[in-house]
């Protein structure tokens, strides 16, 4: 086989491979597009036999969804997710720094137990959380925020630990010699160097808080409800208004979708970090 024939075969192989990946990507996206198109249809279009992507888009479903309590749920979700993300990042980075840079009694127990609690199922927390938080009047958004910070800390600590380990210690030694205290050193020297890691951690934390349903369904009531459970409530015994349900679903799905397009690299790093490097 001459080099030209070889190159041609190589090219054919490449287009086959691109075709295969494209098909896979299409399968991933198609159901999400089904949700989007259904949210833009009228009740009649949805129920007149046969699914089709063809339609005259209308925002009627979105208008109706946002007229109800949903707007309040949206506000609750934003407050809880943003506060949980900020607190998790601050506490998580500090703890990761302690584990990475200091030898102290308690370092190993903290390290090992954070690694182990990464996998506690939310259903396990839901039952005691109700008994613990209700008497303290921490049911509602405050308790939910605390629970989300606790749930997200282990992942955040280990993601940022990896980043801190890559920062050469010479920088800190030099700064210490110059008389810089440990806290000023941490916030002004270390934290700015961790931006990519902080971005990835922020996206993962925000996403988990934003998407969480189990604890939210137990700790919140009509006024403090967050979006995921609010969406679930569109399913009633009487029947499902698919148009409104999908519009509500799109509103919940939107921020994670946007983040994924904006910061795909950080997300994929966050997903693969533990498995491939660890």
């Amino acid at each position: 086989m001459g080099p030209e024939a070889f190159a041609r075969e190589e090219q054919a192989g490449d287009s086959f491979r691109i075709g295969a990946v494209a098909l896979l990507a299409a399968l991933s996206v198609l159901p999400i597009l089904v949700m989007l198109s259904t949210s833009l249809k009228t009740q009649r279009q949805i129920f007149s036999g046969g699914f089709s992507f063809l339609m005259l888009p209308t925002f009627e479903n979105y208008r109706q969804v946002l007229e109800g309590r949903f707007l309040g749920y949206l506000g609750n979700s934003i407050v809880v997710s943003v506060i949980a993300t900020v607190v998790t990042l601050v506490f998580g980075t500090m703890c990761a720094y302690a584990i990475s840079r200091f030898t102290f009694s308690g370092r190993s127990p903290i390290a090992i137990s954070t690694l182990l609690v990464r996998t506690i199922p939310p259903a396990v927390l839901a039952i005691p959380a109700y008994f613990i938080l209700t008497p303290l009047h921490l049911d509602g958004l405050a308790g939910l925020t605390i629970s989300y910070v606790a749930l997200n800390l282990p992942f955040t600590i280990w993601l940022l630990y990896g980043f801190i380990e890559q920062v050469p210690t010479e920088l800190e030694e030099a700064a210490t010699v110059d008389g810089c205290g440990p806290f000023r050193l941490f916030f002004t020297l270390i934290v700015p160097l961790l931006k990519p890691g902080l971005a990835a951690a922020a996206i993962f934390t925000f996403r988990i808080a934003w998407n969480e349903l189990v604890l939210a369904s137990i700790l919140t009531n009509r006024t403090s409800r967050t979006l995921p459970y609010g969406v679930y409530l569109f399913i009633t015994d009487v029947g499902i208004d698919w148009g409104q349900l999908m519009a509500a679903g799109m509103l919940v799905a939107l921020p994670p979708l946007v983040f994924t397009f904006v910061a795909a690299r950080q997300i994929i790093m966050g997903l693969t970090d533990g498995a491939v490097k660890g």
Binding site: R17, L24, F91, F104, A123, L125, P228, L271, G278
Partner: protein, 296 residues
């Protein structure tokens, strides 16, 4: 003065670690210990825990002989095995085929992670609609062949539907991890095998898969743990039905606490689940420990 400085220096790491540790103690460890305590009491939602309600290990014995609990465990086991096997086979297979760096791969990878990023409740709703007997796109295609299966109303079909959904959501996860692993392999081993005249299949079977084994093992464990933790997708799709045919264990715990309202019973089940996920988590640590890996 010197002494004071020494004390404050020794306290520094504790100050850095304390906020995170306190939140985790209150938000994770305390609830777990409390679940263990609750699991000894026969108590319903809204009731106070009284000494009279103490049943001790009897609740575990009762929980482990209850037929609905055993059914839910069986469903969960079957579900986890099916989805993990399919996802590992398809995801790893695709990664082996598509290993070579491709133009546009970055865009495709972005699209592939979308199902994992959106809320599980949305995933459940999307697929509830996809499988809807009257208005769903799947039946709308099958209608052309004269078929109209009632996907979510028949036990076998409903189980199939929740498996399809999980495979849709997480096969890309396996694919991306396996691909990252393959691209990080020591190419000299592959080259050496090729020089020795090994066929493409032999290279995969005897060189790449063994080198990839640790990553595949970690991926399997991560998927198993996730399959045991999740409940939202099924909650939205079938709520465990029809009967108990799709009642995954996490969902079963949730329902027995907040629908049937038997808190002690449910806490006992949750302790059982916690034992299993923690065991898998310990195994995961044995394969992938960030502390040990970075040489400390």
């Amino acid at each position: 003065m010197q002494n004071q400085l020494g004390v404050s220096r020794r306290l520094t790491p504790y100050v850095f670690a304390a906020p995170a540790v306190l939140v985790m103690l209150f938000g994770l460890l305390y609830p777990v210990v409390d679940a263990l305590r609750l699991s000894f009491y026969e108590v319903r939602l809204g009731e106070q825990i009284t000494p009279q309600a103490f049943r001790g290990l009897a609740i575990f014995a009762e929980a482990l002989s209850d037929s609905s609990n055993l059914k839910s465990m069986a469903v969960t086991l079957e579900f986890s095995v099916v989805v993990v096997v399919v996802e590992m086979a398809v995801g790893t297979g695709l990664a082996l085929i598509l290993e070579k760096p491709l133009r546009g791969m970055r865009v495709f990878r972005t699209l592939l992670v979308l199902p994992m990023m959106i809320a599980p409740i949305c995933v459940g709703l999307i697929w509830r609609y996809m499988f809807d007997v009257n208005v769903g796109p799947i039946n709308s295609v099958l209608a052309g062949f004269g078929l109209q299966p009632a996907w979510l109303a028949e036990s076998g079909l409903a189980f199939f539907a929740i498996c399809v959904t999980d495979v849709w959501q997480f096969t890309p996860f396996v694919f991306i991890l396996a691909l990252a692993g393959l691209q990080g392999l020591d190419q000299s081993c592959v080259e050496a095998a090729r020089m020795d005249g090994a066929s493409a299949f032999q290279i995969i079977r005897y060189v790449k898969i063994p080198l990839l084994a640790p990553i595949l093992m970690i991926t399997i464990l991560m998927r198993l743990i996730d399959a045991l933790r999740g409940l939202e997708v099924v909650y939205a799709m079938t709520n465990g039905g029809p009967g108990l045919s799709t009642e995954l264990f996490s969902l079963h715990i949730y329902k027995s606490a907040f629908v049937t309202q038997r808190m002690g019973h449910s806490a006992a089940l949750s302790v059982c689940l916690l034992v299993v996920t923690t065991a898998l988590s310990v195994l995961l640590l044995a394969w992938s420990n960030p502390l040990r890996q970075r040489g400390r």
